[in-house]
Amino acid sequence: MSTETSSGTGPDRTEEMTIREAIRLALREELDRDDDVFVMGEDVGAFGGVYEVTGDLVEQFGEERVRDTPISEAGFMGAAVGAAATGTRPVVEIMFSDFIGVCSEQIINQMAKNRYMFGGKTEMPVTVRTTEGGGSGAASQHSGTIHTWFAHFPGVMAVAPATPASAKGLLKSAIRSDDPVIVFENKQIYEQKGEVPLDDDFTIPIGTASVEREGEDVTVVATQRMVGESLELAEELAGQTSVEVVDLRSLYPMDTETLVESVKKTGRLVIADESPLSYGTHAEVATRVMENAFYSLDAPIQRVGVADVHIPFSPALEEEVLPHGSDVEAAINRIV
């Protein structure tokens, strides 16, 4: 994507910051812009969030609007649904996506279904932020990548940023949306830096992918951490193999058109996402490409993800199961 590097002035001004800072900036801007927006979750206030994402927001907006909750995911997720139906715009933090099971009822049967069941007579402007991903030795209950569950489930939108700019732009779109959106933040890339537009109306439409690097020989559709690793790989391979890297970034709705355009050009596709492989996000991307660009494919589609195992604790084992740029490279080598 195009990032204006110089700071300068005016609406195109950007600043280099981390994904964590970009998320906090989005929250700050939206809390500032709309009094109906409030943030709630465990230790999001004075403590600043376990991954320090909410940081100092409570100092600016107070404890009412940056609201610490008891450890009651079902209770406050449900409260977010009830609050959204009655005129506020909650932004809920679920500390680890692995915990989402305890409040899934409110997500799947209330947040996702009420609008439809009520014949469109309610809006559901809830944003859920949650963390995903292995790589920190946190073991199986704090390392999962579960976004496929909710990208699959009708009635919720799901996004997964890979860059600071998309972290800001997607979260702002989520908060402004009248529909429920879950933002899946990979915790390994919170420190990743990039240029972020400072315009406080900068948003990225949900449902759009982004071609992060153009190439001719193979398309890598990646998400979250795998976007950065694929870009590094593309740089390394430059001269031998021309790799196009597409950041999927919106899991549902999905920008089929951008994926299909890319594969029509390159004829080859690798899908890199940290989900378990079976029935994963990969499968959905692959199917859409098959449905729309079958005759452009010159080789079988390749998937890079986690085998159907949980994320183990020991560094030796964790390293083994997590996908990396080297796995993307191996996949490219199988088909190019």
Partner: protein
């Protein structure tokens, strides 16, 4: 519309009218169901009318309620239109949810009715959320959750009450203890004698009231509403009541005898309230009979209108998922539907 305030004589007659409307509506629903005219399941409120109407008469019209799978009574008590409810039961386009919700999901958010709910225990967190909106926006609305004795065993109900209590939110938690969760009697589901004892755990007031006495329910909720609106937090009220019908229509009810039911029918809430109003001279026997006949006719008419109403167009199945348009759904609708869609 007549205001439902049972401290006035007009309000008392209106409360009686709503209780009768609930009974007529749900008795009719039972007949329609057994005649095979209604799809799905229906859970009826017959016998419990004093709880819904007593509670809603203590609320202001812009207060919120959350409901349960047994929600028709809450809807009527909150002032929803039986015509549009009946249309919804038939799955018709003009129903409250355009036919998408049915008996278990009737909602009218603008009227403060946040939805009947097919998930036992899911309503209280929503009420806590509506109370949170009120708190954050500095409004003076209150949210009341109706839920069953069975729901009291649900974790999310506990979480919702604890949140509202900890944050002093303007909420009221009203348990309709109709003595059973499906087929299991309340004493086999809980270790406390009265469900209201659980209030102690949240350090909020808890009361058990006679749910067959509309005045008792009204007074308890009135007091709870006042506390809530004054910023003193939620109250937990248990109303002891009874459902005359099975858990759902078709339930053979092996778990109770006709004598068990008769004991409660002897204390029928409508009969009791009517007696009280007749004795006070608020209504005469003749006026009562007239009112009842009028309501029976109104429900008959509602059925007639619902039967005559149109079903939603099949394409409506693809509407209302999101506020924003989603290509996944519109593309399917236009290209891959069973009827071939627009393209074929």
């Amino acid at each position: 519309m007549v205001v439902l305030d049972i401290e006035t004589e007009d309000g008392q007659r209106e409360a009686l009218r709503r209780m009768l409307t609930i009974r007529a509506f749900d008795t009719k629903a039972a007949d329609l169901f057994s005649d095979g005219e209604l799809p799905g399941f229906v859970h009826l409120y017959v016998g419990e009318e004093a709880v819904g109407v007593g509670a809603c008469s203590a609320l202001e019209s812009d207060d919120y309620i959350t409901s349960t799978h047994r929600g028709h009574g809450h809807c009527i008590a909150k002032g929803l239109d039986p015509d549009l409810m009946m249309a919804e039961l038939f799955g018709k386009a003009n129903g409250y949810c355009n036919g998408k919700g049915g008996s278990m999901h009737i909602a009218d958010v603008d009227a403060g009715m946040l939805g009947a709910n097919g998930i036992v225990g899911a309503g209280p967190p929503l009420a806590t959320g509506a109370a949170l909106t009120s708190h954050l926006k500095g409004e003076d609305t209150v949210a009341l959750a109706f839920f069953g004795d069975g729901a009291v065993a649900q974790g999310q109900v506990h979480e919702a009450i604890n949140l509202a209590a900890t944050w002093d939110l303007p909420a009221v938690f009203l348990v309709e203890n109709n003595q059973y969760g499906e087929a299991t009697p309340v004493e086999k589901q809980h270790n406390v004698q009265n469900l209201s004892e659980t209030a102690e755990a949240y350090n909020i007031p808890g009361f058990t009231v006679d749910g067959m006495d509309i005045t008792a329910v009204y007074e308890a909720v009135k007091e709870a509403r006042k506390r809530a609106a004054d910023g003193e937090g939620p109250t937990f009220i248990e109303a002891e009541t009874y459902r005359y019908h099975g858990h759902f229509e078709g339930d053979q009810q092996p778990y109770r005898t006709e004598e068990d039911v008769a004991i409660w029918k002897d204390r029928d809430a409508i009969e009791t309230f009517k007696r009280r109003l007749v004795d006070a001279g608020t209504i005469t026997e003749d006026e009562f009979d007239e009112m009842k006949a009028e309501i029976d006719q109104q429900i008959e008419d509602a059925v007639g209108k619902a039967k005559d109403a149109a079903y939603p167009d099949p394409s409506e199945a693809y509407e209302d998922m999101f506020n924003a348009a989603v290509p996944e759904i519109s593309d399917f609708s236009s290209g891959m539907r069973a009827d071939g869609g627009e393209d074929r």
